[in-house]
């Protein structure tokens, strides 16, 4: 990229801060491959796991991370009832308006509202997080190389840095983060949430559940997509057989 001096300077200046020394050093960490129910041709979301994952998001992640593309009504898709969704939505206060007097009003959330973001804007988020910006999680599994595997691994990738590695002030060592130094402190710890369904909240369980939830959030159409895909392939295979038979018949007297 010697051709773009300005860009190169930009890339060096900003890119290195964002990407960290992992790219500079060219080292790569192999992501562990986790088996999820949504993988494969007939993959489907594990509703119970996704619901638990939402609980983890709501009680842990949501204090810093927004999911501004999600609406509370979407939660019906992972098996929550209308009443449950309404109750969840009603726990937040939403700014609405202006009313007829020109005043903005606060009202309880409705199912049609988007997930309420923890911070009013990026500046507020940075101010509260040591100048780091917790990314929106709506499409996070689509927005990271490695997808669900990466998110799962990242949540479990915290630990003490290897000997000789100096972790900067305010950062934390994570095996799977590019550059190994992440601003987010270890978010999950053993037994951090108390699952409504009685499942034991191990670290691994919570990471798996929240990954299930985030993958659903990023690709809510996945089940419908794959089901339609299977039908399409079957239909096209039969159509292909017919088309080939027709072709053979048409060409019969030429060959």
């Amino acid at each position: 990229m010697s051709g773009f001096p300005t860009l190169r300077a930009l890339a060096l200046g900003l890119g290195l801060i964002a990407a960290g020394p992992a790219f500079a050093a060219g080292e790569e960490v192999e992501l562990p491959n986790t088996r999820f129910s949504f993988e494969g041709l007939f993959g489907h979301f594990d509703r119970a796991s996704a619901q638990r994952g939402f609980q983890v998001y709501k009680e842990v992640c949501a204090s810093c991370h927004s999911m501004h593309l999600m609406s509370y009504r979407n939660l019906r898709q992972i098996g929550l009832s209308e009443a449950e969704v309404a109750a969840i939505a009603a726990t937040v206060q939403v700014t609405d308006g202006p009313n007829d007097d020109g005043q903005m009003i606060e009202r309880p959330g409705r199912a049609s509202d988007r997930f309420k973001s923890p911070f009013a804007n990026e500046q507020a988020a940075r101010a509260a997080n040591n100048n780091a910006y917790p990314p929106d999680l709506s499409v996070i599994t689509k927005a990271r190389e490695g997808g669900a595997d990466y998110i799962h691994a990242l949540l479990l990738g915290y630990g003490d840095p290897p000997a000789g590695v100096q972790v900067a002030e305010g950062l934390h060592y994570n095996k799977y983060f590019a550059g190994h130094q992440i601003a987010m402190p270890q978010p999950l710890s053993e037994g951090q949430v108390e699952y409504h369904d009685g499942t034991k909240a191990t670290l691994e369980q919570m990471a798996t559940d929240v990954t299930q939830f985030l993958t659903w959030a990023a690709e809510p159409e996945m089940e419908e997509r794959k089901a339609l895909g299977v039908k399409m392939i079957i239909f096209l295979t039969i159509l292909g057989g017919l088309a080939y038979a027709v072709k053979r018949k048409v060409w019969h007297d030429v060959h």
């Binding site: 689509k142 190389e145 159409e221 895909g229 030429v254």
Partner: protein, 423 residues
């Protein structure tokens, strides 16, 4: 010239009435019904028709996407995700459109490969070929602008890098870039004009495709033997023979397309484009879409910016003069024993360039890309012109019908004409 009604033979009185005044039915019958087509096409001849279908898919899905898309920097990203979530089958529209672009380039690359291998660019089809190169250029421009519209990180930074290429030109370069951007950086005016042009260009492509097909129907199709049909025994009517054969290819094409759309919709994209565009954060590796990578590799292979830009444009511009660079009178490489291995190596270099374009600009990829770039141009500028003089081609078959019929026996009755009876 005589005026009055066109003489129409259609039995249906309504069709005949229309056809006598506007002979579109006669035209369709002539160009796609009885059109004499060499009888020896292999399945590589499907790809022109596939490209046509692909263009229509892109236009139709694109029109519906445009109904739901918002071309504003603060809303574009979210409007795309809204299409994915809240528009009925919006995910199908968007994934079909995004992967349709990849399919379009796969199809067109194979179509170009076919033309290169069987010498379809040679007289009398030079203009047909050149119009094809124009379509390819228009496709690249359209695809590039389309990739900017979701306003993700790669959209923004890809647009920044590619538009910045024009700043390499001395004196006017910077002004051109400002003019392209509509400002002093890639921003809302850029997004707006790219959306406008992205909607316009496919219709321009459609017009040029019409010229491509019109020119094809003057010269007729080339064929795997690269020799001209010598009479009706060498051809079959387009319908039903090639409509039937194209249908087979079309279904296979749809299967590949469906696998991408339904099971690996994001495989050919870049994860960074699901991060909203941020002018303050540069992604560690800015890469264009996969179909641009060979040319991106050529661009980066040159240590000088202007040189790289010129070579990149040159790599496509050279195709315009290919009909005159290849001096061999023999079209099909089946009969060119020397040209074949050189062309095979050229195909490999193209794929290696594609691979290198996606890698960071460091060793060994830089050196590999340089060697491949050199060969890319060497093939066209030196090897092809020399081969025409040095190579001794294999003897050409007497006619198309002969090798096909093995022994040149008489044609079975009904092999030509009366196409409708067999439909």
């Amino acid at each position: 010239m005589a005026t009055g009604l066109h003489k129409s033979d259609f039995a249906n009185p309504v069709i005949r009435w229309v056809d006598a005044r506007l002979p579109v039915f006669t035209m369709m019958q002539k160009e796609y019904g009885t059109f004499p087509t060499p009888r020896n096409f292999n399945y590589l001849w499907n790809f022109g028709a596939l490209a046509m279908v692909n263009l229509l898919i892109m236009i139709v899905t694109g029109i519906f996407l445009a109904m739901n898309y918002t071309a504003h920097t603060s809303m574009a990203f979210d409007s795309v995700e809204r299409i994915m979530r809240d528009v009925n089958y919006g995910w199908l529209l968007r994934y079909a459109h995004a992967n349709g672009a990849s399919m379009f380039f796969i199809v067109v690359y194979i179509h170009i490969f076919r033309g290169l291998y069987y010498g379809s660019y040679k007289a009398p089809r030079e203009l047909l070929w050149m119009i094809g190169v124009v379509i390819f250029l228009l496709m690249m421009a359209t695809a590039f602008m389309g990739y900017v519209l979701p306003w993700g990180q790669m959209s923004f930074w890809g647009a920044t890098v590619i538009t910045n290429l024009f700043s390499a030109f001395p004196l006017v370069g910077e002004s051109i870039v400002t003019w392209l951007w509509g400002g002093f950086s890639v921003d809302n005016p850029t997004l707006n004009r790219f959306f406008s042009l992205h909607y316009l260009m496919p219709f321009v492509i459609f017009g040029v495709v019409f010229l491509h097909v019109a020119a094809l129907h003057i010269t007729g199709s080339n064929n795997p033997l690269g020799i001209d049909p010598k009479g009706p025994q060498d051809t079959v009517p387009f319908h039903p023979y090639y409509t039937a054969k194209d249908s087979v290819g079309l279904v296979v094409y749809f299967i590949v397309f469906a696998v991408l759309v339904f099971f690996f919709p994001n495989m050919l994209g870049h994860a960074d484009n699901y991060i909203p565009a941020n002018p303050l954060v540069t992604p560690p590796h800015i890469v264009p879409e996969w179909y641009f990578l060979p040319f991106y590799a050529i661009l980066r292979a040159v240590p000088d910016k202007l040189g790289g830009v010129l070579l990149m444009f040159g790599s496509i511009a050279i195709l315009f003069v290919l009909p005159w660079l290849d001096t061999s009178p023999v079209r099909s490489m089946r009969f060119r024993p020397l040209a074949r291995p050189f062309f095979a190596v050229w195909c490999v270099t193209f794929l290696v360039l594609l691979y290198c374009g996606g890698k960071p600009p460091e060793e060994p990829f830089v050196t590999i890309a340089r060697v491949c770039t050199a060969y890319y141009f060497l093939y066209f500028l030196v090897i092809l012109p020399l081969l025409g003089r040095l190579e001794r081609p294999l003897p050409l078959p007497e006619s198309i019908a002969r090798p096909v019929l093995r022994g040149g026996g008489p044609l079975p009755a009904g092999a030509m004409g009366k196409p409708m009876e067999k439909a």
